[in-house]
């Protein structure tokens, strides 16, 4: 009687990056349980983790070449949509992941936190992010949100010796749960308003139907914006950011700042670009307000901060504002700008956090500006790199930061968002102030009785070295010859 259940076809290639990461994560957990506490387990897990990321990256590379030129793969009942947009941000996520892993190696050893679960959680979180980048259904977005967030709650609280770490985990968790409940309610309202949770389904429905009662849908859109705004740390959903960035172990912070933002914006851009393009005149002003608030609050609040990690946290709020400018434009140029920004930002922020990871003394607790006083004088290379990264974040020319900001601003100019453009450029000036403050502190002489900056730092471990070199190289190359990268970002802007 009943028709048989027809399972959806699965395009394994399309989901293999996620599978690679998740499999590596699960494999690590298995290794942990099999090998128990043997010394080999941590290096082995590191290798497995990195191999997983590399494998995922290889698949992404293949997918990129397959899909470039406005092609997309839809699979598993339309829940997964692999397109250049998703692949691009997936690559950003993977880059952030591998760099965070590399940074973690020496960090965990120094802090005595070596545990295979750490790698597993990062991989699983990254898997969630990859799911997010290719999600074509609100419920997938929601689940991906949880998959990427829950490991982050744990990772934030991973340093059991520091109460601040646990506090960060706690705060992140409470607020994350709250915001994901709000997001889920948004999903529910949208479902009710359109009868589906599929992004393309919503778009199709809205294109064919004129809603007389738009209330449920608009409420849903608003609440979706809240949930994703929380993830990308847009004001006023940003307040967790400084505390969590400061309290979390620094490599985790770097992972969070780069990868979570990429994933969050992937969902934001895809949901609003694919599902609600017809409602752009409704949500664009709202995003405009979020962008302005993020720009102003992020950059202004950072001015008087005294903790370097906190400054960078506020700056990441400001950066969210800049990316929101590109998103708000809702044009191909705007998306291109946002994508390029996320790409560059990953290197700039991970580079900065890499230096902080290296320079922090054991305990990962000394990040006040006073602890960094004289760093650039006494360790010119390490200190100089941090100066370089903060200047890049400030948007100094010949760095990727400048090109990214330029692209974002041009998107605003093209979209005739002049007020946003001017607020953006002025915010970047305010931003320059606190970036310079970091630079200034590191360049001013340390009082004789103060402890040596950089603490135990004698030699940069090779893994962190690789990360630093890669970040510097990419930021400079994007800044000087941006053509190729902009081209990639442009290829990735295609959504439907």
């Amino acid at each position: 009687m009943t028709p048989p259940i027809v399972h959806p076809t699965v395009n394994w290639l399309a989901i293999s990056p996620e599978i690679a990461l998740a499999a590596a994560g699960v494999f690590i957990v298995m290794l942990r349980s099999v090998l128990r506490r043997r010394p080999i387990v941590v290096p082995l897990c590191t290798v497995v983790a990195i191999s997983g990321v590399v494998a995922a990256g290889a698949v992404q590379y293949r997918l990129w070449h397959l899909l470039r030129g406005h092609r997309a793969m839809t699979t598993i009942a339309g829940m997964v949509r692999v397109d250049p947009f998703g692949v691009f941000l997936g690559v950003v996520v993977l880059i952030a992941t591998v760099m965070a892993l590399l940074l973690s190696v020496a960090y965990l050893r120094r802090e005595g936190l070596e545990a295979p679960e750490y790698f597993a959680l990062i991989l699983l979180s990254a898997a969630g992010m990859l799911v997010m980048t290719t999600a074509n259904d609100l419920i997938v977005v929601f689940l991906a949100l949880e998959v990427l967030s829950i490991p982050l709650y744990v990772l934030a609280a991973f340093d059991r010796r520091r109460l601040s770490s646990q506090e960060a985990g706690m705060k992140y968790f409470v607020l994350g749960a709250f915001s994901s409940a709000v997001f889920l309610y948004g999903v529910a309202l949208t479902y009710g308003a359109t009868g589906t949770t599929s992004l393309t389904g919503i778009a199709r429905f809205l294109a064919n139907t004129t809603l007389l009662d738009q209330g449920t849908l608009l409420g849903g859109i608003a609440l979706l914006l809240v949930g994703l705004g929380f993830k990308v740390a847009a004001v006023p959903f940003h307040m967790w950011t400084p505390d969590v960035y400061q309290g979390s172990p620094t490599p985790v912070t770097s992972f969070m700042s780069a990868a979570t933002k990429a994933a969050g914006f992937a969902a934001l851009i895809r949901i609003f670009g694919v599902a609600f393009p017809l409602y752009r005149s409704d949500w664009r002003p709202a995003v405009w307000a979020l962008a302005v608030l993020s720009l102003v609050v992020g950059n202004v609040a950072a001015v008087i901060q005294t903790d370097v990690k906190r400054i960078l946290a506020y700056s990441s709020i400001g950066h969210a504002g800049f990316i929101l400018i590109g998103f708000q434009a809702n044009t191909s140029r705007g998306r291109e700008a946002a994508l390029l920004y996320l790409f560059v930002y990953a290197f700039m922020t991970i580079g900065a956090f890499a230096v902080i990871t290296i320079a922090a003394r054991r305990g990962d607790d000394h990040h006040s500006l006073d602890d960094y006083r004289g760093l650039a004088l006494e360790r010119p290379v390490v200190g100089g790199l941090l100066i370089f990264f903060v200047l890049a974040q400030a948007g100094v020319p010949f760095t990727g930061g400048f090109v990214a900001k330029l692209e974002v601003f041009s998107a605003a100019a093209q979209a005739h968002e002049y007020a946003l453009l001017i607020i953006g450029v002025l915010a970047s000036v305010v931003g320059a102030f606190y970036y310079l403050r970091i630079a200034l502190t590191m360049l001013s002489a340390r009082p004789d009785d103060a402890p040596e900056p950089g603490g135990l730092l004698r030699r940069v471990d090779p893994w962190s070295g690789i990360v630093l070199v890669a970040c510097v190289a990419l930021v400079v190359v994007v800044g000087v010859v941006p053509g190729t990268f902009v081209h990639w970002a442009r290829d990735a802007t295609f959504l439907l």
């Binding site: 929601f142 744990v154 706690m170 968790f173 409470v174 709250f178 309610y185 400061q246």
Partner: protein
């Protein structure tokens, strides 16, 4: 008389919205982290009720399927959240949210 008065899905949806509101307010006003988690559960339940009501209204089984995902997420969140509380509690004998404010500014 009663027969003329039917309960449409809107009633359930309003009820769910109210429940969501109670959960949200509870999260804001309670200091005990465990109770805050319970409030999150209230909110998630409100969403579940919404899903089910919409499933009914739209005659769509998918709405009920979504509840399962919510359930799983709720379970996972509670597991991790309670673990965090336990971990913190081992360090400090305090379970109110207001006690954790070493990170500020």
């Amino acid at each position: 008389m009663i027969g003329a008065f039917t309960i449409t899905s809107s009633y359930y949806l309003v009820l769910a919205a109210a429940l969501f509101g109670i959960g949200a307010v509870g999260l804001l006003v309670r200091r005990n982290v465990l109770v805050m988690f319970m409030c999150v559960e209230l909110m998630l339940n409100a969403v579940n009720l919404t899903f089910v009501a919409f499933a009914k209204a739209l005659n769509d089984a998918a709405g009920q399927v979504l509840v399962f995902f919510t359930l799983v997420v709720a379970a996972a969140e509670v597991a991790v959240g309670l673990a965090i509380i336990v971990a913190i509690f081992r360090r400090r004998r305090a379970a109110t949210a207001d006690d954790l404010r070493s990170l500020e500014g």
